[in-house]
């Protein structure tokens, strides 16, 4: 098999294990562990008056009950604010177990540990907590109105006012030929991985060491948090992310209360303890995302070119702000997308509500930013009577403008400078892929079938691969096996395949000799985590650099043996050979043996490295000064700033005007994530993202009632799309290498989800001729919209389109 695998659609090596039930997920660990269950607040906002556990004490199998009163030291302090920011003036976090006040339904109040989960839930059901209800704030508008306070010491419910501007927007708007102002909404959704969270902890009382398995996206940081909160020395704590059944952002948050409390109980009880989150818990006690109110004013010229953009966003951050204002920053900075916006001002007010916390879910603020900008483009197009694609084209940053400085500050604290891109190319490819110009005929064909057809598009730029760093370790064993490890975690993305591809390519070894480990602090202690489409950019480059280090050392050692210059050597299929001299070679595994001078031979291979095996050079020490034994290398990649991937989606919908059911009949994606390591995996990422985009546009919402009760906290009523609801997706790639990193990569993980709501809203609006100013939209809402006299009628004066089908609703 060839060892040059970069860019090849290599099949995912993890799939066989994962799809036949051989995966090792959190709940597969610790069959004999005690089980934890949590009693959670049934109220959205209440004072905890009394906790009476007496009823539970006689339950056979009960081992321990913990309340806030049992927490000591740092555990009794609020959970950390993970990402502080000067504009986050009023950060608030909860306690591992509620102290005095609960701020959302689902907040943990009591932990019960018992011999198994059934018993733990039986006991939890017998604990009586007395609450004094407080006024409840639900939804971004209620938070904005601030009739009630979520946190009594936070004025106006505002956690942060994030603000950026690139010029004097008031002047620019005043000078604009035309302006438009409008308000729109995006609803909540959530990451909803198939596997919820889960924690297993084992305490070794003799070694005074703790091993924790947790279904996380950030094992090194969980380790640091556990050590700090439980006052353990870092080297006595190991944290391992086993196979993780999806993360999509929710598992980057840490430490979750359970990640601290389960280890605490394991130490106290001297026995393994495990907690596996159930689906209802995941709905009400993990994290959601997406709800925003967007107030937009745009100025533009006769040709539809944007001259000024002023955006005020109200962002619902839920009850607490453990993840800081990352989502507001991402929305604020990614909103402008692929467009040259001369003057831009954005303010994001991040407000508290008595609902589940809001932290990044795949897209992490970008879908909302894209919705704001792309719907603005549609409005300008309609207002000026210009084709929607044409208006976008007139505003695109041109190829010769890169690197393009948006004069904004990104989520990594670094400038938003688009490293490279070809947005005109994206648009050309997209129009061809969806056959944008044939919509007139297709609309007529659909009408003949009694259906309303609409087409929409949306473009985006995604800042990917933020730092600060990731590392990689590559080691060649005497067996020829190549061990690769990186600290960031995997949740099914295909890291085992991609990192093996990269190392095999860099090192010149067969891919099957390469073994990849991720997210295990025993193997790699320094890492940041898997989020923000960063794994390939960060760990990909780090393992590639580590492999280059190994290669360099291997060539140096082999050059000695082969009496050649390193520059004249190549490594192919695990064999180091002199270029153009067949037969003059040494296996890489032998180089690995020789790299470690031995006194003791333990097998045949090792004999070659022992001190009497051959004539040595007595003028030098066995290990040269500055060198190290072993054929291994650790390296790190730390970027100067983020890379900026880009893409464009177009969608065709058909709507049944007698039921208002919405079918996505065509979905086209043009995607540019720089150099592609494995196109099949990139396409898989796009497919998954599109599925979540369709979900966010047409199906998913968090249906909170006014009391803060989540009405649809199950997969029966929270409508995550099935495969049957996800349209076929056609994809075209464009590869614009990033100049910022050795491999020229940009991230691909989140892109697929970003433009879904914007493109689908545009298509529905095109089909029914009514303004879509809030997403998601369901058939029953569409029916209400088309019947409502108050709804905006969209008069499309686009010369390439017929008059919109407003008559159908008359």
């Amino acid at each position: 098999m060839t060892t040059k695998l970069f860019g090849e659609p290599v099949r995912r090596r993890e799939d066989a294990r994962l799809i036949i039930g051989q995966g090792r997920y959190l709940d597969d660990i610790g069959a004999d562990a005690h089980a934890a269950a949590f009693l959670r607040s049934p109220y959205a906002h209440a004072r905890v008056v009394d906790i009476d556990v007496t009823g539970a004490l006689d339950v056979e199998g009960l081992l321990a009950i913990y309340t806030y009163a049992d927490l000591t030291g740092p555990l009794a302090e609020p959970l950390p604010v993970l990402i502080p920011h000067p504009q986050l003036t009023h950060p608030r976090t909860g306690y591992p177990l509620a102290k005095d006040v609960v701020q959302h339904v689902g907040e943990a109040v009591v932990m019960v540990v018992a011999t198994d989960r059934y018993v733990a839930e039986d006991a939890a059901a017998l604990i009586e907590v007395t609450y004094e209800e407080l006024p409840v704030v639900v939804g971004v508008d209620a938070a904005r109105a601030a009739l009630h306070a979520v946190h009594e010491d936070v004025p106006d419910n505002v956690a942060a006012r994030h603000h950026q501007e690139t010029g004097d927007v008031a002047v620019a708007l005043a000078a604009s030929a035309h302006t438009l102002s409008f308000t729109q909404y995006v609803e909540r959704s959530a990451a909803m991985p198939m596997e919820g969270k889960g924690v297993h902890a084992r305490w070794d009382a003799d070694d005074k060491a703790l091993r924790v398995y947790t279904s996380t996206q950030a094992s090194t940081s969980v380790r640091a948090a556990i050590a700090a909160k439980l006052q353990l020395s870092l080297e006595k704590v190991e944290v391992i992310a086993p196979d993780v059944g999806g993360g999509f952002g929710v598992k980057i948050v840490h430490p979750w209360p359970e990640e601290l409390l389960v280890p605490m109980a394991a130490i106290a009880l001297g026995h393994e303890v495990k907690w596996t989150e159930d689906r209802r818990e995941h709905f009400i006690s993990s994290a959601h995302e997406r709800q925003q109110r967007q107030e937009i004013t745009v100025g533009y010229d006769d040709g539809g070119r944007v001259t000024a953009l002023d955006v005020h966003i109200w962002h619902d951050n839920g009850a607490y702000t453990p993840y800081g204002i990352i989502i507001p920053i991402v929305t604020a900075t990614q909103l402008v997308g692929p467009y040259a916006v001369p003057v831009y001002r954005v303010q994001v007010d991040s407000v508290f509500t008595n609902t589940v916390i809001v932290t990044p879910y795949r897209g992490a603020g970008r879908p909302q930013g894209c919705f704001a900008m792309e719907r603005t483009m549609d409005r300008i197009a309609q207002e000026r009577g210009i084709d929607r694609a044409e208006v976008r084209s007139r505003n695109l940053i041109q190829v010769d403008q890169f690197p393009y400085d948006q004069h904004l500050t990104f989520q990594d604290g670094r400038p938003v400078i688009y490293d490279s891109g070809d947005y005109v190319g994206l648009m050309d490819k997209l129009k061809a892929l969806i056959d944008w110009d044939s919509v007139v005929e297709r609309r007529a064909d659909a009408e003949a079938r009694g259906r309303l057809l609409g087409i929409g598009m949306a473009m985006y730029v995604e800042g990917t691969g933020p730092g600060p760093y990731e590392g990689g370790h590559v080691q060649v064993l005497g067996s020829g096996k190549v061990l690769v490890s990186t600290g960031l975690t995997s949740q099914g993305q295909g890291h085992e395949t991609v990192f093996a591809q990269l190392v095999a390519s860099e090192l010149g070894v067969p891919m099957e000799d390469v073994e990849v480990t991720t997210g295990d602090t025993r193997r790699f202690g320094y890492a940041v985590g898997t989020f923000a489409s960063r794994a390939a950019v960060m760990s990909g480059n780090a393992v590639a650099l580590a492999a280059r280090g190994v290669r360099e050392k291997a060539l140096r050692i082999a050059a000695d043996v082969l009496e050649a210059e390193p520059a004249d050597l190549v490594i192919e299929d695990g064999l180091v050979q002199v270029k153009g001299v067949p037969g003059t070679s040494i296996p890489l595994r032998t180089v690995a043996v020789l790299s470690n001078p031995l006194r003791y031979a333990f097998d045949e291979a090792a004999k070659q490295a022992t001190q009497f095996a051959g004539p040595g050079d007595n003028s030098k020490p066995p290990v040269a000064v500055g060198d190290a034994p072993g054929l291994e290398h650790t390296d790190y990649y730390s970027p100067i700033r983020s890379t900026f991937a880009s893409g464009a989606h177009a969608v065709v919908v058909e709507i049944d005007p007698a039921t208002w059911e919405i079918d996505v009949v065509q979905y086209a994606v043009v995607h540019d994530c720089g150099n592609v390591v494995n196109p099949m995996i990139v396409e898989g990422q796009v497919h998954g993202g599109v599925a979540q985009g369709v979900g966010g546009a047409l199906y998913e919402r968090m249906a909170y009632d006014a009391d803060g009760q989540l009405q649809n906290a199950s997969f029966m009523d929270f409508l995550m799309p099935y495969a049957s609801e996800v349209p076929p997706v056609v994809i075209d790639h464009q590869e614009t290498a990033s100049p910022l990193n050795p491999l020229g990569l940009k991230g691909a993980g989140e892109a697929g989800v970003i433009p879904g709501s914007a493109a689908i809203a545009s298509a529905i609006e095109d089909a029914v001729g009514r303004r879509i100013a809030a997403m998601p939209i369901s058939p029953t809402e569409l029916y209400d919209l088309v019947r409502s006299s108050a709804a905006d009628r969209v008069t499309n004066t686009d010369p390439t389109l017929p008059t919109l089908n407003t008559g159908a609703m008359a």
């Binding site: 059934y118 839930e121 649809n712 029966m716």
Partner: protein, 294 residues
């Protein structure tokens, strides 16, 4: 999401099952396919003292398709009924409706009779029992009795059967001569509970003029509802019938509630649309069958 403690019995005769149910009282629940009951248990929304598992009772896994109708035993899974050509031949609504029951995995375990006993007005088979004017056979300590659907369905998730009883089978009368049926649903996702569903039967006379049009709906009332829509189309041929008028009539007869997924108004719209569409299909089938028979 673990059930509260419960006892478990797996009787091997109906008598034994009734004995357990008698001794356990109201706290006992019959378990067949478990597709509705077990989620309720896991969410602790139901906490029966004992589950009486009837899967080992002999002679209840049968589909009996006769001239008068189809009798479906209590242990027949949806998937088996869906695959029964004989049942479809006698009463085509059975397969047409069953095809809309959830997903294959649920159809493989869930039972037709179980879903009727669950008495969910969103369930397909409750409506089909109503539309076909069917009944259930119930084993009680006093002997078996037959209960018609109108008496059986009392409210949402509630039947008229109380005390020790095991429903042994459901009987769906055959499709009458010169009749056609159709069944359609609107669901948010394929396989979900219907936002609204409709099953219809249209009958024509020897001159191919419509003599009857009846419809049953899902998810529009507290119990399955059957509405006679004949007046809107009586005496017309299926080609000249104003099916939309029948839809409008139906829309006025139902009184649905709104919920997370649909407003009451939207459900009324769907009643009208589904009525119009299914009646047209059923009318065409009625004519076809009438011509075949003559």
């Amino acid at each position: 999401m673990k059930p509260a403690p419960f006892g478990y019995a797996d009787p091997t005769t109906v008598e034994e099952a009734l004995d357990v149910l008698s001794s356990e009282g109201e706290g006992a629940k019959v378990l067949a396919g478990g597709q509705s009951l077990l989620p309720l248990l896991s969410m602790r929304l139901a906490a029966p003292t004992t589950l009486v598992d009837i899967n080992r009772l002999p002679g209840l896994d049968f589909i009996e398709a006769g001239r008068d109708g189809v009798r479906v035993g209590a242990l027949v899974r949806h998937a088996a009924l869906l695959a029964s050509v004989e049942a479809a031949g006698v009463q085509p609504l059975l397969t047409r409706a069953t095809a809309n029951v959830a997903h294959p995995a649920i159809r493989n375990r869930g039972t037709t009779v179980g879903s009727i006993v669950h008495a969910d007005p969103s369930g397909e088979m409750t409506s089909v029992l109503a539309l076909t004017d069917g009944s259930v056979t119930v084993a009680t300590p006093g002997g078996p009795t037959t209960i018609g659907w109108r008496e059986f369905f009392v409210g949402p998730l509630e039947t008229s059967v109380h005390g020790p009883a095991v429903v042994l089978d459901a009987f769906f009368p055959a499709l009458p001569a010169r009749s056609g049926t159709a069944f359609a649903e609107v669901a948010r996702r394929k396989g979900d509970y219907a936002v609204c569903g409709a099953g219809v039967v249209v009958t024509v006379d020897d001159d191919l003029r419509i003599t009857a049009a009846r419809a049953a709906y899902l998810s529009v009332g507290l119990v399955p509802e059957v509405h006679d829509l004949t007046e809107a189309v009586a005496g017309r041929t299926v080609d000249s019938a104003d099916w939309a008028a029948a839809g409008a009539l139906a829309r006025g007869l139902v009184d649905p509630d709104g919920d997370l997924h649909a407003s009451a108004d939207y459900r009324r719209l769907l009643v009208a649309t589904l009525t119009e569409r299914t009646l047209a299909d059923a009318g065409a089938e009625a004519v076809r069958r009438a011509l075949e028979a003559s």
